[in-house]
């Protein structure tokens, strides 16, 4: 097994294992209503560069899931956008929050993981 294949295989532990890895329940809903449930890594804050070139920390969840665990991979060309439901905190039993998957997204061609950047979704008035 070469290093790339080994790294992909390791995702079953590092990304998906809820006991020894970073695994948290992630639910994806495709534009045509298909629900995909996997385990993945959830980070609740990320670093962005603002208009003046400064790096700032913003509240923007980023979800990383193993591509080979998905029955369908989200694409930037999908319309409407995918939904993603994640726990509001890493504590077991936490409430579940719903987001839309933002474009652009990483589709996992390099090392086998897909990184999804989430945007807030709210009930229309």
């Amino acid at each position: 097994m070469n290093l790339r294949a080994q790294a992909e295989a390791d995702l079953s532990v590092s990304l998906e294992d809820a006991v020894t890895g970073f695994g948290m329940p992630v639910e994806l809903i495709s534009p045509d209503g298909e629900k995909i449930q996997v385990n993945g890594q959830v980070l609740y804050d990320s670093i962005e560069t603002d208009a003046s070139g400064l790096q700032i920390i913003v509240h923007k969840p980023v979800v990383t899931v193993r591509r080979s665990s998905l029955s369908r991979v989200p694409l930037a060309t999908d319309s409407p956008r995918w939904a993603c439901r994640i726990p509001t905190s890493p504590v077991p039993g936490a409430d579940i929050d719903t987001f839309l998957v933002e474009r652009p997204m990483e589709t996992g061609g390099s090392l086998g993981f897909v990184r999804l950047y989430l945007a807030r979704a709210e009930q229309a008035p």
């Binding site: 045509d32 629900k35 208009a51 969840p61 409407p80 839309l100 989430l118």
Partner: protein, 218 residues
């Protein structure tokens, strides 16, 4: 100077008319979280951005005309909005999920609409005939005008989309020349530091240094 009174008055005028539709501050914050300007927390920043004092607009000892530009910066943020209920209901069918996803309006579109509305509100408040004096006494302000409106592009910031805009409010005020005679510095402090910090010729003698350097004031 009068421009400071004017800026405070514009802040007060907008604040009193806001009615929960936006917030007003009289300074430029050092960046704001998107959550801080979301929805009706839309932010209006009022600050003096510059002025012109034509030489022909007054005497050397009397009041002078000051053509003031007050910058009004606007910031808003929105999330995507749609039918959320089916997405959070585990019993929803795929058809209901798909319909719910299709119902969402993009945050960029909503943010742009929110900014258009904010520009409209602020413009109407400032250009209202009843506010021709911008909250000051009649005659204190003339030539009130919103000379320019700019609107930025929506951009993602965190999990929201943020948009900014600005207005240039111009008017003319009269500045009194009150003068400033300066503030005398502490004589003891001057004696202690005045001669030490400056590389003056003949600094051996305290009398050789000008009075201002010895701490005697200007």
């Amino acid at each position: 100077m009068m421009f400071r009174t004017l800026k405070a008055s514009v802040v007060s005028l907008l604040g009193l008319a806001a009615g929960g539709r936006f917030r007003v501050v009289g300074y430029q914050p050092q960046g704001a979280e998107a959550e801080e300007v979301k929805g009706d927390l839309r932010l209006v920043q009022v600050f003096f951005s510059g002025g012109q004092i034509p030489k022909s607009g007054g005497g050397s000892a009397g009041p002078v005309a000051h053509n003031v530009t007050v910058k009004i910066e606007l910031t808003a943020a929105k999330a995507s909005e749609g039918e959320l209920a089916p997405l959070v209901n585990p019993a929803s069918t795929p058809v209901e999920f798909a319909a719910a996803l299709a119902s969402f309006t993009s945050a960029a579109e909503l943010a742009a609409d929110s900014m258009d509305e904010l520009i409209d509100i602020v413009f109407q408040i400032l250009m209202d005939g009843r506010n021709i004096d911008l909250g000051l006494d009649p005659g204190d302000v003339s030539n009130r005008w919103i000379e320019r409106i700019d609107k930025g592009e929506p951009s993602p910031r965190g999990e929201l989309v943020v948009i900014s805009g600005s207005m240039d409010l111009t008017c003319r005020v009269s500045e009194a020349l009150l003068g400033d005679a300066g503030v005398p510095s502490d004589p003891d402090l001057g004696a202690a530091y005045g001669e030490l910090e400056l590389n003056m010729p003949d600094s051996d003698s305290a009398d050789a240094a000008p009075a201002a350097i010895r701490g005697g004031g200007i």
